[in-house]
């Protein structure tokens, strides 16, 4: 029997701050092209998923994180 991975929310356990200022840490909640990952992938609870999404969107507005990788793509 393998050890079961904790299904507790990371933000609740580690108390990581979900803030636009920690934009490098928010990157782990986005995929490679910058899209926000769904909760089944981030393993965050409802409250913290919402906070993470808001923080990512603030960081995007300020140019700290990409909206997606379509900017300057060869298809435009």
């Amino acid at each position: 029997m393998g050890r079961r991975r904790s299904n507790r929310c990371m933000a609740c356990e580690d108390k990581i701050e979900l803030d636009y200022k920690q934009y490098n840490k928010l990157k782990r909640f986005t995929n490679r092209s910058g899209k926000i990952l769904p909760r089944r992938a981030t393993k965050l609870c409802e409250k913290h998923q919402r906070k993470a999404a808001e923080a990512i969107k603030s960081a995007r507005y300020l140019g700290l994180l990409p909206y997606g990788d379509e900017h300057g793509s060869p298809w435009q």
Partner: protein
């Protein structure tokens, strides 16, 4: 949080900081700290800029004047983008 023209890295930063401070003070706000994040590469191009100078200003002001401060920041030269955040640790609860 202000995103400024990257030219302020070289010159005019102190003037610009004074001007932004004056905006807050003109509405009876109090600037508590200014933090320069410096020049950073933007994740995407904004208004033709691929780099920007980040400046974080923490201030205290009445909630009624935030709109005025925002409006003045918006027309200030050299400001590419700005955003006002509420600091939940120090802010008083909103009175209904």
């Amino acid at each position: 949080m202000y995103l400024l023209d990257p030219k302020f890295e070289e010159e005019g930063l102190e003037d610009k900081k004074d001007r932004l401070k004056a905006i807050v003070e003109s509405e009876d706000g109090e600037v508590e700290s200014m933090e320069e994040w410096g020049k950073k590469r933007l994740a995407y191009e904004i208004d033709g800029f691929s780099e920007g100078f980040y400046l974080l200003i923490e201030f205290q002001a009445s909630s009624d004047v935030i709109d005025e401060i925002s409006e003045k920041s918006n027309v200030e030269e050299g400001v590419i983008r700005y955003q006002v955040f509420r600091n939940k640790e120090v802010a008083e609860p909103v009175k209904s």
